[in-house]
């Protein structure tokens, strides 16, 4: 699991500057958006340090890192701050050498961004389903989620490739993966039961070294979610 350090909360002292040769990511162990950034850091072998933030009791200094007070945020040794998960991922791909996750071809790059737009309703649907887990009134939202997921199945069907960017894994796959991982753990599997290509994609993703290195422990995620939905300040450190 990533970043096993306890989270920093209200009243904590701000961390010092980022040492040269390293990049820092402000994160939270169970945040799907931050997981995107961690996936890219891991996939590209970028030396980094993780500071986890207690999202139910945010340190005051954290709003200087991101005025929106959200994770993930990148901070480099020049004190530059980058936030919004997709922007952090693209920044890392631009700055760091090694395997390029975004295609060089302008059209293929644009295609990945169009698929990203297709995916855009999924996070909020998954989140609201997670919150409603104990209620019966999920069927409407599950239908909506199925509909959105079908659009992604169509992409794979039309492209005839394993991954969303072609036959190898690339940026778009990492950007959407965290929600599919959560769908499996939190038993929303029936939302992908009509999408065989997506199921194959999910199996292929699990074989990726970066994905498997960052896979969450199902019990830990469930324990976190339980506390998080109760607004407990202990949630973010569940399992430590």
């Amino acid at each position: 699991m990533s970043g096993s350090a306890r989270s920093l909360a209200k009243g904590s002292a701000p961390p010092g500057p980022v040492p040269e040769g390293l990049i820092r990511v402000y994160s939270m162990r169970f945040c799907p958006y931050a997981q995107r950034t961690l996936l890219v850091l891991t996939a590209k072998g970028i030396r980094h340090e993780i500071i986890n933030i207690n999202l139910k009791s945010k340190p005051e200094w954290f709003f200087k890192k991101n005025p929106f007070g959200l994770v993930p945020v990148l901070e480099n040794s020049q004190g530059q701050l980058i936030y919004e998960s997709a922007i952090t991922c693209e920044y890392l791909d631009d700055v760091y050498p090694g395997k390029k996750l975004l295609p060089d071809d302008p059209y293929e790059k644009a295609r990945q961004k169009m698929v990203f737009e297709l995916f855009s309703k999924v996070p909020s649907l998954v989140t609201s389903l997670l919150r409603k887990q104990n209620e019966e009134d999920c069927s409407g939202q599950k239908e909506e989620l199925r509909k959105e997921i079908s659009k992604l199945e169509e992409v794979l069907t039309n492209k005839k490739t394993t991954f969303f960017g072609g036959n190898s894994l690339s940026m778009i796959d990492y950007l959407i993966w965290p929600w599919f991982e959560r769908m499996e753990i939190l038993e929303l599997n029936d939302c992908v039961d009509h999408t065989p290509k997506l199921q194959l994609w999910m199996a292929a993703m699990r074989k990726d070294p970066a994905v498997s290195a960052l896979l969450m422990e199902p019990k830990a995620l469930r324990g976190f979610l339980n506390l998080y939905l109760q607004n407990s300040p202990e949630a973010c450190d569940y399992g430590l």
Binding site: I87, E90, Y91, Y107, K109, A110, E117
Partner: protein, 279 residues
């Protein structure tokens, strides 16, 4: 103007393939999102053709270009389709040589994308204000919300001015600058002349982020909500500078024609989209 052509409606024949050496944009003369793409095409001197779509009476064939029939859409001679205005603009910057509108530096590029996040409520709010006013409804709350968004952008303008200055100033000068900043913040009067600004959102030269914001600022006046900029002098400075840009100028929409379009549009007249075209 390149886009002064009649729109395609239901029952129209689809245009043929895009000739080599040209790129096509499916557009509508008054649409702010399509305006972004046309600004970039013009700024980069990209040879293009415009196909206007009648948005109230969309041609059946148009859904083969965009699943929901939205504009803008780019189509190149390889039959590749690109949509979502921001994606289309970035594609053009990547695919075509010449002047780069996004910065080369990855951090500066990321900064422009973060700025776009600051802007995301503006299109919806300006549209809601327009609709409310046109339907004779009150929109004080909406205007307040819009002013708040403009204040966020104003703060960014003032902070980036400070950051720019900070690197060159002595402690005494920095103190003066802080007072100056406070003045700007409280000022509703004339702008300070000769005050060194990073006048545009991306620096001293106009760049992608300015073009991505511009279409909504151009429309404030014709929508009847120009007073929303009353408390944001740095933003007013910016709009004045934008109006000097040759690309912005070349695409400026005549106010009377825009008003004519709006009148017909709010009467649900499908001829609205071709208002002001000769013959």
């Amino acid at each position: 103007m390149e886009d002064a052509t009649r729109s395609f409606g239901k029952g129209s024949l689809p245009p043929g393939p895009v000739p080599d050496g040209l790129i096509r944009v499916y557009s509508m003369r008054f649409c702010p999102y399509a305006h972004r793409t046309r600004l970039v095409l013009r700024a980069k001197g990209i040879r293009h053709e415009v196909v206007n779509i009648n948005l109230r009476n969309k041609p059946e064939w148009y859904y083969t270009k965009h699943p929901f029939g939205q504009i803008p859409v780019l189509e190149n001679s390889k039959c590749q389709l690109i949509y979502e205005s921001v994606i289309a603009c970035e594609y053009l910057d990547d695919a075509y040589p010449g002047r780069k509108l996004y910065p080369y530096d990855p951090y500066e590029r990321a900064r422009q994308k973060m700025l776009l996040e600051l802007f995301y409520k503006v299109p919806h709010l300006t549209k809601e204000c327009l609709v409310a006013l046109r339907c004779g409804r009150e929109c004080a709350d909406l205007k307040l919300a819009l002013r708040q968004e403009f204040c966020n952008l104003e703060e960014e303008r003032q902070e980036s001015v400070s950051a720019h200055q900070r690197s060159f100033l002595s402690p005494l000068a920095q103190e003066t600058q802080i007072k100056l900043k406070a003045y700007l913040r409280n000022s509703t009067g004339p702008e300070i002349l000769g005050y060194q600004n990073t006048i545009f959102f991306g620096g001293d030269c106009i760049s992608m982020i300015d073009y991505l914001f511009w279409p909504w600022f151009e429309r404030l006046d014709v929508y009847g909500i120009a007073d929303c900029l009353n408390h944001t002098p740095a933003l007013r400075l910016w709009t004045a500078a934008m109006k000097q840009d040759p690309t912005v100028c070349a695409l400026l929409i005549d106010k009377n024609i825009f008003l004519g379009f709006l009148n017909l549009y709010f009467q649900n007249n499908p001829d609205a989209f071709d208002y002001g075209l000769a013959c």
